[in-house]
C-alpha cells in the first residue's frame, strides 16, 4: 500500500508544526524521517496514523482518504515514547492488541507466537510489562505494532533504549519487513537511517528540506569531491603550485606546510588519477590520499541549522 501525502499542514495555535509538505512512500520502501527535535516528524506521523486530525491537505493510503476506522487495520504504529500498560502481562497485552486490530480469533495465538519469536520476547512473555527493561518494552511496542501483519508500519524512533545487539537485530527486522511493506521510521540516529532506509526525508521547521537516497543527498549537498593529501619530495609551495595547475582541481589548500598536507576539491571524477600521475611525473612520494565523503551528519547540519 502506497502512502501519498499532499500539501499536508497542521497548526498548533499560531505555530506551524507541519507546513505544506508533500511526499510519497511506495510499497517495499523504507523511508527514514529525519529532523531536529520539534521539526514536525512526530506530528506528521500522528496525522498519518489518524491519531491527530490533519489541519489541511490530503493523506491517501492505497489511493484512499483515511477517514474510516477500517483503514487503521492496515497500519501498525509504534508511538514515540512507546506507551504501554505496565500492569499487563506481555501475552495478555499482545492478545488485547490483536483483538482490537480485529485479527480473527483463530489466528490470534499464531500471530502472538510469531511476534514473540520475531521480537525475541520468549523469556519475558509471562512477565508484566512494568517488570521489563526498556529494551524489552521497546520490543513489546514493536510486537504490538506488527501483531496484525499490517501493510504499513509507522515507527517513531524504534531503536531508542535498545542495546547495540538489539539495534542490529531490530534494524535487520525492519529491513526484512521493508521488502514487502511500506515503512516510515523516524530517528535521530543518522547511521541508522543509512543502515535501514531506502530513502531519506529531512524535515525542518515543518518543511521538507531534503528528499532522496543518501547518495543523492550527498551529491546535492556538496557537489564536490574532497581529497586529503600528504606528499613528500618537494617544498610545499612547489607542490601547491603543481596541484593548482591540475585541470581537475578546483581548489587547493595547504593544511599543514611542514608536513606537506593538502586539501583538494574537485567536481570531476579523475582527480585521484591526476594526482597520482602528477606525483609519478615529478618523482614525489604520495604518503596519504584520503577521499573524504561528506557525512550525513554534515548534510543534516547544513540543512537544518539556519
Amino acid at each position: 500500500m502506497d502512502i501519498l501525502i499532499r500539501n499536508l499542514s497542521k497548526h498548533y495555535g499560531s505555530q506551524k508544526a507541519v507546513d505544506n509538505i508533500s511526499f510519497e512512500v511506495k510499497t517495499g520502501e523504507v523511508l527514514g524521517f529525519l529532523g531536529p527535535n520539534g521539526a514536525g516528524k512526530t506530528t506528521t506521523m500522528k496525522m498519518i496514523t489518524s491519531y491527530l486530525t490533519k489541519g489541511s491537505g490530503e493523506i491517501l493510503i492505497g489511493g484512499k482518504t483515511f477517514d474510516q476506522e477500517d483503514m487503521r487495520k492496515h497500519i501498525g504504529y509504534l508511538p514515540e515514547h512507546n506507551p504501554l500498560y505496565l500492569d499487563m502481562p506481555v501475552l495478555d497485552y499482545l492478545k488485547f492488541c490483536a483483538s482490537l486490530q480485529k485479527v480473527p480469533s483463530n489466528q490470534i495465538d499464531t500471530q502472538i507466537r510469531k511476534m514473540v519469536r520475531q521480537c525475541g520476547l520468549n523469556n519475558e512473555k509471562h512477565k508484566k510489562i512494568g517488570e521489563l527493561s526498556k529494551g524489552y518494552r521497546q520490543r513489546v511496542g514493536l510486537a504490538q505494532a506488527m501483531i496484525h501483519d499490517p501493510e504499513i508500519l509507522i515507527l517513531d524512533e524504534p531503536t531508542t533504549g535498545l542495546d547495540p545487539n538489539q539495534i542490529v537485530e531490530i534494524r535487520a527486522l525492519i529491513r526484512q519487513l521493508g521488502k514487502e511493506k511500506t515503512v516510515i521510521l523516524s530517528t535521530h540516529i543518522l547511521p541508522e537511517v543509512e543502515a535501514t532506509c531506502d530513502r531519506i526525508l529531512i524535515i525542518n521547521e515543518g518543511k521538507i528540506v531534503a528528499n532522496g537516497t543518501s547518495e543523492t543527498l550527498r551529491r546535492q549537498a556538496s557537489g564536490n569531491k574532497l581529497l586529503k593529501l600528504r606528499i613528500s619530495g618537494a617544498d610545499s609551495n612547489q607542490i601547491h603550485a603543481a596541484l593548482s595547475g591540475l585541470a581537475s582541481a578546483k581548489m587547493v589548500d595547504i593544511v599543514n606546510a611542514e608536513q606537506n598536507r593538502f586539501e583538494l576539491q574537485s567536481s570531476e571524477g579523475t582527480l585521484n588519477e591526476d594526482v597520482f600521475k602528477l606525483c609519478v611525473k615529478n618523482n614525489w612520494v604520495l604518503l596519504e590520499m584520503v577521499p573524504f565523503e561528506t557525512r550525513l551528519e554534515d548534510i543534516f547540519r547544513d540543512l537544518t541549522l539556519n
Partner: protein, 242 residues
Amino acid sequence: MNPIWVVARKEISSFFDSLVAYVFLIVFLLICGIFTWLYGLFVQDIFIRGQADLMAFFINGALPAIGLFIPSITMGMIAKEWKSGTIELLLTKSLSNYQLVIGKYLACLLLIVAALVFTIPYIVTISQIGDLDLGRTLSGYFGLLLISSAYISLGLFASSLTEDQVVAFVISLVLGICFFLLFSVLASNLQGIGSEFFDFASFFSHYEPMVRGVIDTKDVIFFLSITFLGLLLTINQISKRR
C-alpha cells in the same frame, strides 16, 4: 469480537488483576452492611424499622457507597490513558472514540453489578424473616443500576477532562455531591421555580419513587439522558484533544 467488548474485558480483568475490584467489593459490602443492619444513617436500620423491606439498604447503604466508589473507579479510566499516552495506542487501532468510552463505561457498570449481586443474601435473609415485596425490591435494584449508570458517565467525563486522577476524582465527587445531596437540599430550601428545578435535577428525587416500587418512565428517561449526556461529553472531549 466487538471492540467495545474487547475494551470492557481488558478493564474488568485489570480491575481484578490489581486490588481495585477486591478493595471495592469488600468496602462496598462493609458500608452496605453497617448502614443496612447496624446503624441507620438517613432512614432507620432494618431492625428498628421493623419492616421486611430493603429501604435501609437502598437509602443508607448502597447510595453513599455508590456515590463514594464510582468516582474512585472512573477517575483513572481516561485520565490515566492521557497521562501515560496509551490512548494513542488505542485510538490508532481499529477503535473509535465512542467504542472506547462505551467499553470503559460497561466495565464500570459491570463492577457495580457484581457488587450488587453480592447483596442478594440481604434479599434472601429478609424474605425469611418477613413478607418481602419482591417487585418493590427489584425496582429498587433497577433504580440503583440507573443511578450508577448516570454517575459513571459523569465520572468518565470528569476523567476525560484531566491527566490527573486526583483532579478527576475530586471533580466527579463534587458532581456527585451536587446530584446526590446538594440539589435535594436546595430543592427543599428554595421556593417556586428554583425548588422545582433542583428537585428535577436531583438524583434522589428520581430514585426515591423506585425504592417505593414506582418505576416512572420520566425517572428512567432522566437517568438515561444523564448517562447519554455524560458519554457524549466524554467522547467529545476525546475528539477535541486529538
